[in-house]
Each structure stands twice: as structure tokens, then as C-alpha cells.
């Protein structure tokens, strides 16, 4: 009874904060809403007796979300991360895809018959996982480790000072406020037949009419819906 209540609180928290990630108006808040979502899922995992996995998920995400907030502030045109800003494209199609996958997956969950074989209350899940990782499934564990090592080397190679993308200190320039000239108009489109208005209409999804677009200050291309908070 209490467990059910706690589960539903955590579940609502995880879903609500996941939704807030894309609806909040600041990069830092988005990153930390994502962290809240991960903490909610981690705690549900603890309730499912996957104690080690839940705790390690929270441990991982605490570091990663902070890095993420730093990266967002580094690369976004919003240095402190406090100012309002939501940038979306193809909003309706994305929403449809999101709802579609939610409906499909929850239909699988609701209507498929899975065997009900609950983990034993006395199971020592953490010890079992450790034995499994360093026993039967050691190859999988080692492969994961080598994959991480390769990812680390790859990441360093991509961004190192003498890497293929140029000197490392170039990234320290201030971000450009204006979009690149070739970004807003598709150069391959026939220029004569379409005026500026119809080029916006030919983009995958026009801005949703219900939103109130702010003054774009010339900073945003025509086919972005730049919504205020």
C-alpha cells in the first residue's frame, strides 16, 4: 500500500520532470529537470530490488547532468542559462511521434501477456550481479569496458589540440549570435517559383498557429517557431 503510493509519486515525478525538460525556459533548468527524472527512475529501480543499478544510475547522472549544463551554457547563445528560450522545429510531427511511440509501447505493456515471475524477496540482487559480472558474463562486462575505453579515446581524438577539427582554443570564441547565411534558405530549392512565404510553407512543418511567436530579432530562420515561455 505504502509502496504503491511511493511508486506513483516517483513515477509522476519522473514523467513530469521529463516533460519539463523540453518545456522549461533555461538550459540549466532543463539539465536538472532531466536529473530529477533520472533520480525518480533510479529510486523506482531501488524499489524493484535493483538496488545497485538504481543507485549507480543516480551517481552517474549527477555528474553527467552537471557536465551537460556546462556544455549547454558553453554552446548556447544564453551564457548564464537564466533567460527564457525554447527552440523547436517540426513540433507537431515530433509530438505525434512521441505520442505514437508512447501509445504503441504502453499498448504492448497493457495487452501483451508476460509471465509473472517476481524476484524473490530474499534474493541478494547486488551480490548476484557482482558474481554474474565477474563470472559467466565477464565477456560482456569486459566488452562494455573496452567500448567505454574506445569511446574515451575517440572523444579525445575528436577534440584534441591537434585533432582533425583544428586547434582546441578555437572553441573558446564567443558563440555567434547570427545564424549562418546558408542555414535559413535551402539553396537547392528553385528560387523563382517560391516567394518567402511559400518557402516557409514548404518546410516540413510550419510553425504552429496557436503559439504566439515573439519578435524574432532577425536571429531565427523563418521556419523555426521561436516560442516565448
Amino acid at each position: 500500500m505504502i509502496a504503491d503510493a511511493v511508486f506513483w509519486i516517483l513515477a509522476v515525478l519522473a514523467v513530469f520532470s521529463a516533460w519539463r525538460v523540453f518545456r522549461t525556459d533555461s538550459m540549466v533548468r532543463a539539465a536538472y529537470w532531466l536529473l530529477v527524472s533520472f533520480v525518480g527512475v533510479g529510486l523506482i529501480m531501488v524499489m524493484l530490488k535493483a538496488e545497485f543499478l538504481g543507485v549507480i544510475l543516480i551517481l552517474m547522472m549527477g555528474g553527467e547532468m552537471t557536465i551537460m549544463a556546462v556544455f549547454m551554457v558553453m554552446f548556447m547563445m544564453n551564457p548564464a542559462g537564466l533567460n527564457p528560450m525554447i527552440m523547436v522545429h517540426q513540433n507537431r510531427a515530433a509530438m505525434a511521434a512521441g505520442f505514437g511511440s508512447f501509445a504503441l509501447l504502453s499498448a504492448v505493456g497493457l495487452f501483451a501477456r508476460f509471465p509473472a515471475s517476481v524476484v524473490a524477496p530474499t534474493a541478494r540482487a547486488t551480490a548476484e550481479l557482482g558474481t554474474e559480472l565477474l563470472g559467466d558474463s565477464m565477456l560482456v562486462f569486459q566488452t562494455a569496458g573496452v567500448t567505454l575505453l574506445a569511446a574515451m579515446i575517440g572523444a579525445v581524438a575528436l577534440v584534441s589540440v591537434r585533432g582533425r577539427f583544428g586547434p582546441a582554443d578555437e572553441g573558446s570564441d564567443a558563440p555567434e549570435q547570427q545564424p549562418a547565411a546558408d542555414a535559413d534558405v535551402d539553396s537547392s530549392a528553385p528560387p523563382s517559383s517560391t516567394g518567402p512565404s511559400s518557402s516557409a510553407a514548404s518546410s516540413p512543418t510550419p510553425p504552429a498557429p496557436s503559439t504566439t511567436p515573439e519578435v524574432t530579432e532577425g536571429a531565427m530562420p523563418a521556419d523555426h517557431s521561436h516560442e516565448g515561455a
Binding site: V21, F22, K49, M76, M77, F102, P115, E132, A151
Partner: protein, 101 residues
């Protein structure tokens, strides 16, 4: 706390992730969408381990593999964002019309 309930919650988190990955312009926000999708998948995997597969240790291993995927995605994602920013000064997808380096 039934199988169905956790499945629906995981599907909701996954669906929000799909929406984010498809709708956001900022590279980092797209990565957040991907992470949310993995988050939902991990929750479903942990549920299957605990309630369908009866706690076989291999089930937890699947979640460990998913966490590895998430770490690799984050590391390489940030590296690519940095590299693209250096070359193209691009921080949103619309500034990136071609992927050839």
C-alpha cells in the same frame, strides 16, 4: 506497482524522449532526448528483470549494458558537438546542412 503500470511509465518517459530528440534544435537538447529514451528503456528492463524474469542476474546485466550505451552516447556526443562547433560555428541543427567534413 504492477507490470502494466511500470510499462506505461517507461513508455511515457520514452515518448517524451522521442519528442525531445525530434523537436529540439540544440544539439545538447537532442542528446537529452536520447538520454530520456534510454532512461525509459532502462526502467522497462529493470521491471522485466524484477517482475517477468524472476530476478535472473542476466537481466541486471542488460541494464548495465544500457548504462554503457548512455555513457558512450554522452562522451561521443559532446566530442562531436565540440568538433562541429569548431568547424562550423554551429550549435543548432539548422546550421548544419551537410555532414561532410
Amino acid at each position: 506497482m504492477s507490470q502494466q503500470a511500470i510499462f506505461v511509465v517507461a513508455a511515457a518517459i520514452f515518448g517524451i524522449g522521442v519528442y525531445g530528440a525530434l523537436s529540439q534544435q540544440s544539439f545538447v537538447m537532442i542528446m537529452m532526448g536520447l538520454e530520456l529514451m534510454l532512461n525509459g528503456a532502462m526502467l522497462a528492463a529493470a521491471m522485466v528483470w524484477a517482475m517477468v524474469a524472476g530476478g535472473t542476474p542476466k537481466g541486471q546485466l542488460l541494464v548495465v549494458v544500457l548504462m554503457t550505451v548512455m555513457a558512450v552516447e554522452a562522451a561521443l556526443g559532446f566530442a562531436l558537438v565540440t568538433g562541429i562547433y569548431r568547424v562550423r560555428k554551429a550549435d543548432i541543427t539548422e546550421k548544419l546542412k551537410r555532414l561532410k567534413g
